[in-house]
Amino acid sequence: MRKDLRILVVEADRAKAENIIDALQDAGWSELHAISHVSGLEHSIEEHAPDIVLIDMANPDRDTLEHIGAVSNTRSRAVAMFVDQTDPHLTQAALAAGVSAYVVDGLQMNRIKSVIETAIARFQMMRKMQSELDAAKQALEDRKTIDRAKGILMRRRSIPEDEAYKLLRKAAMDQGRKVIDVAQALVTASDLLA
């Protein structure tokens, strides 16, 4: 397959945009551009005349892109990828991964398929990384709360740390709750009474 499609990536986050560009480059496409701000979109479409525009589903600027396609009578006639429902599986996968693609000048679906697939894979990876990052942050927050709760128990009851933790765990088991929830309640109560 020829790898001469012109692809424009619309992504405010530079790191994310580079990530997608890298993935597409690795997959063999070379005519790649990224823009971060949608106010330049109309101009970019004229300048680069992309065959495909890739944009995150969650990006509110999708509406703007769609409008440019609807009113433009030049070569830049963007058509939402989802117009082509000959491949519902691909459409569903794109939707689930949060990628929207706009085919600019009516390419054959089989030509854009691998572009979209590469983008989907990359979007999924980024989404996974994001949720792992969120989970890690949450775990850190939880750890801090539990440490505070342990500290409160240690001071109030004059007990060592491992006992304080056992006490928390027992309370959680007795009440059928999570340790973090019991810790949170203790910290909140302690703050109120302080």
């Binding site: 589903m57 990006n59 999708r62 769609e66 939707l95």
Partner: protein, 382 residues
């Protein structure tokens, strides 16, 4: 009792209130429904999610089901307009930069405003609108069509970014729903010149939409949803509930907006220019009164006509409006039902009592600014 969970899409605007109130005040729960309100970043995302089955129902711009059914723009699908969620509620205004070059604008006078804009020279007027298939854009093109020397470029700007677009001179004017018009005014970058209702007195703004096959396959759920939303809309339009409505909407996680920006839409007290005293705009945003929730087929016909449809397209658009379901599902719970499902759009200059099931239906003025009327029953009667 097990509740049916319904994935329901919305865009965070004041006029998504019927869905939020149905959820927050338990109107949905009373029907055995759990509304899983899923916030959408854009109208195109919402449209795709509904069309591809990831949402069961959604708040939509009134032209969107018509456009989708006619196969215009993006994903097409056969979409039903189950009922209206709101009428009116949009404003048109100009940037401070532009207003300085015009003589003082008389609020709510579309004709003189148009004359002023036309007189400012041949440079195109760039107007920000939320979406190509929105009542905002249709009213803009209908209004400006009577000024042949005025070149209008409509630019799609996500409403939360409209103030920025006005401030940066990216657009000269804006047509937007609340709270974003008030947002522009409060930032001192633009002034409100008229409400959408000054161009069309009673324009359908947002609707409750679902895929046609979903409506057909889930009649009971559709009925429950419509009843819950109907009750919420009725509650919203009762004068004594307005302060509480502002309170609930303000603290709901769904809107994430401050009370003071929700208030103008709910009360109709709009500040037109930074520092000015608020002006009352009658029937600024209607949820229920004057049959605001009835999905008039003639309104869909008007929309289709503005979108360039021929007679067949207009007839198709009219089938989107499920007046049959509205009658069947909401009649038994006390909704007043008009004698006909179409009306002559634009024919009423004042409150008008019309024939209805309970005999209590009073329709509000729905005149167009140019005095034209649209009678679609003649076009489609066969």
């Amino acid at each position: 009792m097990n509740r049916t969970v319904l994935n329901c899409g919305y865009v965070p605007l004041v006029d998504s209130a019927p869905l939020i109130i149905a959820h927050e005040l338990g109107f949905a729960a009373e029907e055995g429904l759990e509304l899983n309100l899923i916030r959408q970043p854009s109208w195109s995302a919402l449209r795709d999610m509904l069309g591809l089955g990831h949402l069961d129902a959604a708040q939509m711009l009134s032209p969107l089901p018509v456009a989708m059914t006619m196969g215009l723009g993006g994903l097409s699908a056969q979409i039903d307009t189950l009922m209206g969620l709101s009428a009116n509620g949009t404003v048109f205004g100009v940037s401070k930069q532009l207003s300085h070059t015009l003589s003082p604008i008389e609020f709510g006078n579309p004709k003189s405003l148009l004359a002023q804009l036309e007189a400012r020279g041949p440079r195109p007027l760039r107007v920000g609108v939320p979406f190509p298939f929105s009542m905002h854009r249709l009213l803009l093109s209908y209004w400006t069509a009577s000024a042949p020397n005025l070149v209008v470029e409509s630019v799609t700007v996500p409403p939360p970014r409209m103030a920025e677009a006005v401030a940066e001179g990216h657009v000269d004017a804006f047509w937007v729903g609340e709270p974003w018009g008030s947002d522009i005014v409060s930032r001192g970058v633009g002034d409100i010149a008229m409400a959408g209702s000054h161009v069309w007195g009673f324009a359908p703004e947002k609707v409750l939409a679902a895929r046609h096959d979903w409506t057909e396959n889930n009649p009971e759920t559709a009925q429950k949803l419509m009843r819950a939303v109907y009750q919420a809309s009725r509650w919203l339009d009762l004068e004594q509930n307005k302060p509480l409505a502002v309170e609930i909407l303000g603290r709901s996680e769904h809107l994430n907006l401050a009370h003071e920006v929700i208030e103008p839409a709910v009360t109709g007290m709009l500040t037109l220019s930074a520092g000015a005293a608020p002006t009352h705009v009658s029937q600024f945003l209607m949820f229920h009164d004057h049959a605001a929730s009835f999905p008039w087929r003639s309104q869909a016909a008007w929309i289709a006509k503005q979108l360039g449809a021929d007679a067949a397209g207009i007839a198709l658009a009219m089938t989107c409006c499920r007046t049959d379901l509205y009658r069947k599902y909401l009649g038994p719970i006390g909704a007043d039902l008009p004698g006909a499902s179409e009306k002559v759009e634009g024919a009423m200059n004042e409150m008008t009592a019309v024939a209805s099931l309970r005999g209590q239906m009073i329709l509000a003025p729905d005149a167009f600014f140019d005095g034209n009327t649209f009678d679609f029953s003649a076009d489609t009667a066969e």
